[in-house]
Structure formats: structure tokens, C-alpha cells
Amino acid sequence: MDPTSGVAPPVPVRTLVLRAHEGDREAEALLCARFQAAVRGFARRREPTQDAVNEFTQEVLLRLIEALRTGAVREPEALGGYVLGICRTLTASAARQRQRRQELWALYGADLEPLELPAEGPSLYPVAKLEDCMSQLSPRARHVVVLGYVHMKSHAEIAAELDLTLPSARVLRHRTLAVLRECLAGSISWESA
């Protein structure tokens, strides 16, 4: 069984915001972790490369840390909208304000770094589980996942590479994701042998 499967109930966002403002780094990290996937999703829709998504996500989280520490988040319950506002503001600015980013990184980068996935050695159980599930996909379905979610190809690029129409590529991706999700929710197939 996956030793990391225990899930604690989420701490209310207001509590985390107040704790973060008082200097609780764990609360700050929890808030960044909550938003990381949403910010990546926002960037995924708009940015063409993995590096650009990473850079955008990092910048938004740095700005979130700054806002938490300086007390700029006045309505903790509306933090979702606040973070989305950061994303939209950044997207709207033509240049990404690299200088600003470097300043933020110098101030808060050390606190953001532990949130990054280690370059090596994520627990191998979930890797093995995903591999077990992916091995049960057809090569084409596997390919659509790899192209879309690993190589971050666009919808049109995926369709072109698989020689599919745009609607067919979309349907294949939807079906494959649903199958993968169901598979990942269970145990590794061999565990019942």
C-alpha cells in the first residue's frame, strides 16, 4: 500500500493566512502548495513551454509569499481570487518584469525552494503505480498522455503528431485521462496476485 495515502482535513484558509502573516513558514508553505497546481494550470493554458510554466509559477508564488508577509491579503477568504489576480496581472504585463522577479527571489527564494519537487528521488511507489497504469494503455493512448502532460505539446501539435483530427485528439485525451484516474485510484495490479 502507498504509505503516503493518509489525508488530513484541510486547515481553513483564513487560519493559514493569519499564521503566515505572523511568520509561520509552515502555513506559508501550505498555502503555496495549495495554489501551486492551480497556478501551473493557469500557466499551462497560456505558456508554450515547461520552462515558461515553471518560471511563471515560481513568480506567482513569490508574489504570494510577499503578500502574505506584508499583510497585503486583507480578505483571507478571498485568497483564491487574490492569487488569480496575481496571475492575470502577470499575464497582462507585456514583459515579465525579470528585474522584479530577481528581487523577489533574493528575498523569498530560499523559502520557496523546498516546495520544488526534488530533481531526483520522488517516492518510487507512485512512479511504479503510474507505470503500471500506463502499461495498460494502448500505445496511442500512452502517447497522448506523454505528449500532452509530459512534453506539454499543444492540442494542435498532439493531433498532428498522432495524425488525428482535433476533436478526435481531444476525445482520446479525455478517455485516457479518465482511465488513468480510475486506475491510479486503485492499487497496483500485481498487489492482488
Partner: protein, 183 residues
């Protein structure tokens, strides 16, 4: 349409902007509450998928691709398994990637190949669809993470290779995997 379908449409830009705006507002509101299971799922597929890909590769394994993994520094172990002879899945503690090499020759066959992994009482544990043989020798390689392979060491299963052609599915060969004696 499921929530996961909607999320995929949002991420890949197949959701129109006027629909995406309220969608992402809800997404961020949910994230604030710690409700981001779907986002975590797609992120996990990306992050872990990259690890799977870096280790096991993206193409059907062949003798050459396995040798290439060794050249990249992976500790790869290969076990030859011959139909008709019970096979023990036994891997060292040092192995990172393991390969079961089915020693048969499928060259000349033109159908689609699937492998069912079945328990002795016929329950199909998993199916490996549309497997491809090594064009150089016609044999079939199955590669996986050693951590996944070690789960199989105590298993007693049959790997059944089926060929489907003209709508007919027939058993081509079968391999019996018995529990490793030291598992």
C-alpha cells in the same frame, strides 16, 4: 462532460476564454480551500510521467534500447523467460530497471499482440495492449521499475500472448511465472 474533461479542455485551450474565466475563478477558490484533487492528478501525471519516461523510455523496448539505458547509467537487469519453462522473477536489490525477455520469435506474425497476465484461476490482473516485438529477433521485452517488479516476485501468474487478426483472437504462447524461491 466530466470535471476532468473540463479541466483538460481548460488546460489545452479547447475551452473558450469566456467559459475559462469563471472556470479558473472556481479553480482558484477551490485551491484556497485545499480542494485540488483533479489539479493534483494532472500534475502528478506530468511529473511522474516524466520520471517513467526518463527511466523506461517512450518507445517499445528492444535489445538496443535496453543497452542504451545501461549506457546512460541505469542499473538494468534482464531475465530471459522461455515459454514451456517456469520462470522465476528474481531481481537483485541493486536493480533500478528490470526487463523480462520473452524468448520467442514473433517475426512473420501480422496481427495485433496483447499480453494478459492471469492468475492460475484465470483472473486477468492486467492486459498489456498492442505490444511490439523487437524487429531484430522477434522477441518481446517488458521493462519496468524494479520497485514495481519486486511486487511480482511472489506471484504465480501466467503471461499469455494473444494475437488478434481478422477479428479472431488466439493464444500464441504462454509463460508461467512461479514465485521466486527467495521472495
Amino acid at each position: 462532460m466530466s470535471e476532468l474533461d473540463e479541466l483538460d479542455d481548460y488546460l489545452f485551450g479547447t475551452m473558450p476564454d469566456e467559459q475559462a474565466a469563471p472556470f479558473e475563478e472556481a479553480l482558484f477558490d477551490q485551491a484556497a480551500l485545499g480542494e485540488h484533487a483533479l489539479l493534483d492528478f494532472v500534475a502528478e501525471v506530468g511529473v511522474l510521467g516524466r520520471v517513467v519516461l526518463q527511466r523506461a523510455g517512450s518507445v517499445p523496448p528492444t535489445a538496443a534500447s535496453i543497452e542504451a539505458l545501461r549506457q546512460r547509467g541505469f542499473r538494468v537487469e534482464v531475465a530471459d523467460a522461455t515459454p514451456g519453462t517456469p520462470y522465476q522473477a528474481r531481481w537483485s536489490a541493486e536493480a533500478e530497471l528490470v526487463v523480462t525477455h520473452f524468448v520467442l520469435d514473433m517475426r512473420g506474425h501480422t496481427g495485433r499482440f496483447d499480453v494478459d497476465i492471469e492468475t492460475p484461476d484465470g483472473e486477468v490482473l492486467k492486459t498489456l495492449p498492442e505490444v511490439t516485438c523487437d524487429p531484430d529477433d522477434g522477441s518481446f521485452y517488458a521493462i519496468c521499475e524494479a520497485s514495481l517488479a519486486r511486487l511480482t516476485q511472489g506471484a504465480h501468474v501466467f503471461w499469455r500472448l494473444y494475437e488478434t487478426e481478422n477479428g479472431q483472437r488466439r493464444l500464441v504462447d504462454s509463460l508461467e511465472q512461479v514465485p521466486a524461491t527467495d521472495a
